[in-house]
């Protein structure tokens, strides 16, 4: 039982890492640029497709991973300059409409280019198979690698935000954009930078997801909904919040799927229990969000704002 619990906990943390990689960009763009970017999930998808295509051509996992991130960065750079930049002055409804249209464009374009049959990637030889972790849990090596990659990105991001000049400007800009602009910081350049970096994380997550799940049109949208939950729970604009929110959502979602049926099964007959628990476990993260928002309306780690 404890082994199963540990394994499910790892599954939750691993899902949390994906969510964090996508939420990090989302929360920065939302917090700093004050833009709701629904097309963030499309960048995740672009990362996965780049990975699958480059991997197919080169046959190397590492080369594909290293090259797919710049591909996403280029795509994000174009999107920022052509569309996102024009949305700053507009209200959120316009942004939602424009970025939703972007989803449709990107999805339809991908369908035209690559067809409807999903692409598949294999886990590289060096990361395939399982490892036995302390505690006697056998766990797929690739999923361990994903957790490691997520932690490394989180650490790097924290160092940038907390220790560098650009990081300071970003923190200041999230709190009071106008003042930072008055102080002579080129806010347009900073906007582009944040958007591109956020996209790169989403693209990295997409590239890492490739060998695990099928690479298909619309793969980012399901994840994006969960990521908005992470961002809201964590506090908009806060990287620390995104991390905590992502891990919490990942663990709650996985644990819900893993244990709610068993728990309900003790009170109800199996057929009813499995019916109810399927619904209940998919609701669990939204229930969590409601509880968090009741007690902390601005999220767990709210960012101070001047407005």
């Amino acid at each position: 039982m404890s082994q199963l619990f540990l394994e499910q906990l790892l599954n939750g943390v691993q899902l949390g890492m994906f969510l964090f990689l996508v939420s990090a960009g989302l929360t920065l763009v939302f917090g700093f640029m004050n833009i709701i970017n629904l097309a963030h999930g499309s960048l995740f998808m672009i990362g996965a497709y780049a990975m699958a295509l480059i991997g197919g051509v080169t046959g190397s996992f590492l080369a594909a991973l290293v090259l797919s991130v710049p591909v996403v960065a280029c795509a994000a750079w174009v999107i920022e300059i052509v569309i996102i930049r024009r949305l700053h002055a507009r209200d959120h409804l316009d942004q939602v409409l424009a970025t939703f249209a972007l989803i449709l464009f990107i999805n339809e374009g991908t369908t035209m280019l690559f067809g409807r049959v999903p692409l598949f990637l294999d886990v590289p030889e060096s990361l395939s198979g399982t490892v036995t972790l302390p505690g006697g849990v056998t766990y797929p090596l690739y999923r361990v690698a994903i957790i490691g990659a997520g932690l490394a990105v989180a650490l790097a991001l924290w160092l940038i935000i907390a220790r560098t000049r650009v990081g300071m400007q970003i923190r200041a800009g999230t709190t009071n954009r106008e003042t930072v602009e008055q102080l002579g910081v080129n806010i347009d350049r900073l906007n582009t930078l944040i958007f591109v970096v956020g996209a790169m994380f989403a693209g990295l997550a997409g590239a890492l997801a490739g060998p695990l799940t099928s690479v298909e049109v619309g793969m980012g949208e399901n994840l994006l909904i969960l990521c908005f939950v992470c961002v809201v729970i964590g506090g908009i604009g806060s990287i620390r919040g995104a991390m905590l929110g992502a891990i919490t959502v990942g663990v709650v979602d996985t644990m819900g799927r893993a244990f709610v049926p068993d728990i309900l099964g003790r009170f109800l007959d199996p057929a009813t229990a499995s019916g109810i628990s399927a619904g209940l476990s998919s609701m669990s993260i939204y229930l969590l969000m409601v509880v968090v928002l009741v007690f902390r309306p601005t999220g767990l780690f709210p960012v101070a704002r001047s407005v």
Binding site: E7, F120, T130, R143, E216, T254, S274, S282
Partner: protein, 390 residues
């Protein structure tokens, strides 16, 4: 003046012949799933269907047909909107194409209420096979449960004492588990319903490992099945707990995507590429030549559906809704060479057919299902007795 009269007369005649020509063209509405991870299911049903039409040069049974194809995106609300448009604006006489059993309960009743024929190439949920069966509703491929009944028979025949079962939480998923249990002699140690369209099965695989069953039965069609099979392999489970599957979880696209780790997996199906009958050989050659890829089981179903319609149109001379009784009895006779061999409709308009055991083998670097033998001969579904038709 005289000239004008002649012109007008000629115009009248012309429009009259046009109307006659239009009336002769039978309109078929195809609502199917073309996008998302399960998009290849609808694509193959469509391509199989179109192949039969192309073979006749745009006709079915010597009658010109027009097929309107729309993607439901696996959403019932899209299915409803398209069905209403097809029935009211386009006035299709035959509705077909639905893949998923969360869409057919929306599209089928609309079609039947409008007095048109509903001929399904894939989805055939239990509710239309029993008490609510309808004289104008025909299921060409199977009744959902039968797929999984055959898997249950297959698992029992292989001597498994207990099983862990897994399916998406929607009507066909529930039908799947019910069907498997109906003919599986062993004990069910775990029963899990996942979300439709789920991509990551880590939590479910961990539960299977913890339950330690003798075998796993999963009904995860399309991309879901590919993801599950890959992750199952990554978790090192293939060697520990073998899978016994129904046809949708072991189609050729899944085998190609998952690859070597599928070798040895057993499944059951009503059709396989190596069934030796003339219709099947012609279909395989025709499909490869037309589309440059091997057909899936879904393509065979689309093709059979078109051939069935062709046989009925041939008999009625192109009349569908003008001769409801004639077209209906022509359909019911199922007077065509099915690619799966012997085939007949039961009283509830669902198939009576053989089910075959298959196992995945490697042939010249490709992974394919090889037919091992018959599991169930002339198998009928469990709901026919509840249906009042005869």
């Amino acid at each position: 003046m005289k000239l004008m009269k002649i012109n007008a007369l000629a115009g009248l005649l012309l429009s009259a012949t046009c109307a006659a020509a239009l009336a002769e063209e039978v309109k078929i509405g195809m609502i199917t799933t073309l996008s998302g991870p399960a998009g290849y299911l609808g694509q193959d049903v469509r391509d199989g269907f179109m192949l039969a039409i192309a073979e006749e040069g745009g006709m079915l049974g010597g009658v010109k047909v027009e097929v309107l194809v729309e993607d439901d995106g696996l959403k019932p609300e899209n299915g409803r909107a398209i069905a209403e448009r097809f029935l009211e604006r386009d006035e299709v006489e035959i509705m077909t194409g639905v893949i998923f059993s969360n869409i057919s309960p929306v599209v089928a009743p609309l079609t039947l209420r409008a007095g048109r024929f509903y001929i399904t190439p894939n989805s055939a949920p239990s509710q239309f096979a029993g008490k609510n069966c309808h004289e104008n509703y025909f299921a060409v491929a199977w009744q959902n449960d039968s797929l999984h009944e055959s898997a249950g028979l297959n698992a029992t025949a292989q001597g498994y004492g207990n099983a862990f079962v897994l399916a998406p939480n929607y009507q066909a998923g529930k039908d799947a588990i019910a069907g498997f249990k109906r003919y599986f002699g062993g004990e069910i140690v775990g029963e899990v319903y996942t979300q439709l369209g789920q991509t990551d099965y880590a939590a479910e695989i961990a539960r299977i490992r913890a339950a330690g069953p003798e075998m796993v039965f999963q009904f995860l069609p399309g991309g879901m099945g590919i993801n599950f099979a890959k992750q199952y392999d990554q978790a090192g489970m293939n060697a520990e707990v073998p899978m016994v599957l129904a046809a949708p979880s072991s189609d050729i696209n899944i085998l190609r995507a998952v690859g070597e780790s599928m070798v040895g997996v057993s499944s059951s199906s009503h059709w396989n590429h190596d069934l030796e009958n003339e219709a099947n050989q012609a279909f395989l050659a025709g499909f490869e030549a037309e589309y440059g890829r091997p057909p899936t089981v879904y393509a065979s179903q689309g093709y059979d559906t078109a051939k069935l319609i062709a046989s009925a149109l041939m008999k009625t001379g192109g009349k569908v809704t003008e001769d409801m009784d004639g077209f209906r009895s022509a359909l019911k006779a199922a007077d065509f060479d099915s690619v799966r061999g012997a085939f007949a409709f039961n009283t509830n308009n669902h198939p009576i057919q053989n089910w075959y055991a298959r196992v995945v083998v490697e042939r010249d670097g490709e992974f394919v299902n090889e037919t091992m033998g018959v599991i169930a001969e002339n198998h009928a579904d469990a709901y026919a007795s509840e249906c009042a038709l005869n």
